[in-house]
Amino acid sequence: MEDSTSPKQEKENQEKLGEARRSWEGKTAASPQYSEPESSEPLEAKQGPETGRQSGSSRPWSPQSRARTPLGGPAGPETSSPAPLSRREPSSTPSPPAPARQDLAAPPQSHRTTSVIPEAGTPYPDPLEQSSDKRESVPLHTSQSERNTFQQSQQPKLHLCGPRDVSYNNAKQKELRFDVFQEADSNSDCDLQLPAPGDSEGAPSMLETAIQNAKAYLLKTSSKSGFNLYDHLSNMLTKILNERPENAVDIFENISQDVKMAHFSKKFDALHNENEMLPTYEIAEKQKALFLQGHLEGVDQELEDEIAENALPNVMESAFYFEQAGVGLGTDETYRIFLALKQLTDTHPIQRCRFWGKILGLEMNYIVAEVEFREGEDEEEVEEEDVAEERDNGESEADEDEEDELPKSFYKAPQAIPKEESRTGANKYVYFVCNEPGRPWVKLPPVIPAQIVIARKIKKFFTGRLDAPVISYPPFPGNESNYLRAQIARISAGTHVSPLGFYQFGEEEGEEEEEVEGGQNSFEENPDFEGIQVIDLVESLSNWVHHVQHILSQGRCNWFNSIQKNEEEEEEGEEEDEEKEEPDYIEQEVGPPLLTPISEDLEIQNIPPWTTRLSSNLIPQYAIAVLQSNLWPGAYAFSNGKKFENFYIGWGHKYSPDNYTPPVPPPVYQEYPSGPEITEMDDPSVEEEQAFRAAQEAVLLAAENEESEEDEDEEDDYD
């Protein structure tokens, strides 16, 4: 005990913990309480000498006993625990539960304590105090001869510690620890010290001093954080003992950090917290609105109406099938999208609607719905053609307003190919997008051929904001919403397929060979479709057909002959020249007709354009056929023989085995006829200027002479 206390304390700490584990195996926090009162003792004992001695009365003991009572309490049933500590004997009497923690008066106990103290190592009849007393006595035993002094010293200490304990629970824990070292120490050394009563007078005081110094050091408040090590260690050990993590020693540092952080308990800072979670709550609110929309007008009639005119597709069913193929957005997300689609159909006059897919973007994603409006209920479309045309012809017109008549450029922009009418070709469907289900749907503008042509030449990621500019070369005529629409059109044209026979052509109308514009445009469902075996669908690609028109390289589905229009327009002078330069006849572009089987699709450098699979090899009888496009990675189609559906999920770009190369800018164009007006000439040299001036003067003179002669003649005449 008289060794230096600090290393000892550490060792004792460990021992204490070890003992704690051993002796209190499976015990709950009763154990810490158990030892606490004991710790209070030695603590008090250390402070004893300083505070002076008071003759013992029951009173000062009370805190101790109070401390002990809880000890006694839980210790009662558990007194078997001190059994390993040889000096203890289990007491079986349950003690009253420890209300006495705060109870300073426990006279009977103190009596017991006092009575206990004189006995060293003997079993105490008092069940309540047995273990605790033993504990106490253990440290006391360290200096048996000084028991009395101890007691006396303890009394005032108890007294001191009492109120402190009351106010500060943690002190108990500290005391616990100290107690434990005392205890551990005394356990080991008690016997040694027993025969040495003579030294006891000096020893405890030195020991106490040392311990006290150590404790004071531990209690030193850190200048930075205001904590002290003692409190921190006590908190940590409490936490460990409460939570009992596995391999606590390995995560000791983390626990230490956690305890420190716990001190900074956040007060409810409404402002700070709100900012962080606000978007979450916002979107949750919006999505909640989705769920509630159905209940807004709960009239039976409405319900019937809804069921009758069902424009809404069964998204969940398709999602189920796609899930078999390993494609999908997760059930919850799909359901939310389903509800959002329902909202869309409720607010717009929609004939048919389909969940087209999801396009990923850098900042946000797009959820796309393909929609067909009811007949005659098309929303008006913004005229966008004029903008494009103006831009093309702007150059030539602006120049003409200059004062000097600048040479007229004979560049005439190729006439912008007009977009297709709605409901035909690439604009057959209208597309709505939203960033997340719950957010409002935005209608995408119809696509114009120029956009498709340029979209084929560029490859850009979508950002997620519809109004973002698309900066590329060649410059894209439009912003992200146009680019998105163009890509959607391309993907639809390239990857929307259906089983052979599902669709058939409508009644054939008279075809005029000369003006065939892309062949049949219309198709309808075949009521007699009987389905194709799933195996057939997987094995042969000819059982699938495209049901969306192919987009020609012009950018349209139906050929537009721009030459004819040129002839009809008024011709400017220069246009005649232009006409001669162009071929008189532009070859009509022809694409594969509608409903061609996909086995006709071109390969991409030895890679087949489609991959077919059965959704499950384990249970083939219920499997479905899944088509995966290799040209547009992310495009899927499934069919179970009778039903089919197309879906796209991806970044929105075509696959090319070679890397993307941006197109080369065209060669510089000869805009103006070269002639003397715009041909650069060297500045005349001085001699040339002089010669020129001389010549001019000569001419002037000659002219003046003539004029003067004429004037004279005229004057003569008037006379």
Binding site: M277, P279, T280, A325, G330, E333, I458, F461, Q628, I649
Partner: protein, 261 residues
């Protein structure tokens, strides 16, 4: 993603659209359990799926106690039988990087290349996976910690990133031996916590902007997608312990990235 929390992870990563079909999921759950037992791994990660023209490769990785030790890679065609992929030599790595294009789906398929010898598809899959793993496997900061003795351990007290941290690229590290750490200036190094910041962060990845960070479900889930290797999705639910990554793609690098940004 950890095989122990496979279902939840698949659900969280489903935003990218590609996942697993129910039968694959079910077979994965059982087979990965067995793999863990047979090979005595500490953790088994389901790495992802490489789409081939004919069939797909399902890849799993086994980790030992030291999280940063080289991981063992297993592959399977049907999610039930797993085989170790043989480790590749340098020359094979060089060779396979030359052979471009999609995978076939048949591990014994031999690629022919005019200059080099035939490259076995099995090896190519392995190398591709290694390359992708080195490039884009990521871990949130604080999920692993390094002990002074060397081995890296899973941090059991990792409570998840906070929302503000989750939106920053610097809170995510590459799940591999650090390469750029030594190049940091002393000032930067002074701020690092040596037990937590011992891997490269994503901030300095080249090309800049090759990661797309998004919050899905309104801040309840942060999803990082790699634009350089399209198909890699990393998800993390802030303030929770759930995080993971999965690769579902063709196994090809997106060389057009600079044009696309």
């Amino acid at each position: 993603m950890d095989a122990d929390s496979l279902l939840l992870s698949l659900e969280l990563a489903s935003g990218s659209g590609q996942g697993l079909s129910p039968d694959r999921r079910a077979s994965l759950l059982t087979s990965l359990m067995l793999v863990k037992r047979d090979y005595r791994y500490d953790r088994v990660l389901f790495w992802g799926r490489i789409l081939g023209l004919v069939a797909d490769y399902y890849i799993a990785q086994g980790l030992s106690e030291d999280q940063l030790a080289p991981r063992k890679t297993l592959y399977s065609l049907n999610c039930t039988e797993w085989s170790l992929l043989p480790p590749a030599t340098e020359e094979m790595v060089a060779q396979s990087s030359v052979v471009k294009g999609r995978f076939m789906g048949d591990p014994s398929y031999e690629y022919e290349h005019t200059e080099l010898q035939k490259v076995n598809e099995g090896e190519k899959v392995f190398e591709e996976e290694i390359v992708i793993d080195k490039a884009v496997a990521i871990i949130p900061r604080g999920a692993l910690f390094k002990t002074p003795f060397g081995p890296t351990h899973v941090n059991r007290t990792f409570e998840g990133l906070s929302l503000s941290e989750a939106k920053k690229l610097s809170s995510y590290f590459h799940f591999r031996e650090p390469v750029e750490l030594k190049n940091k200036t002393l000032l930067e190094k002074a701020d690092l916590d040596p037990s937590l910041d011992f891997m490269d962060s994503l901030e300095h990845d080249i090309p800049k902007g090759s990661w797309s960070i998004q919050m899905e479900r309104g801040n309840a889930l942060v999803v990082l997608r790699s634009l350089l290797w399209p198909g890699l999705t990393f998800y993390h639910a802030p303030r929770t312990k759930h995080y993971g990554y999965i690769y579902v793609g063709t196994g090809e690098k997106n060389m057009d990235l600079p044009f696309m940004l």
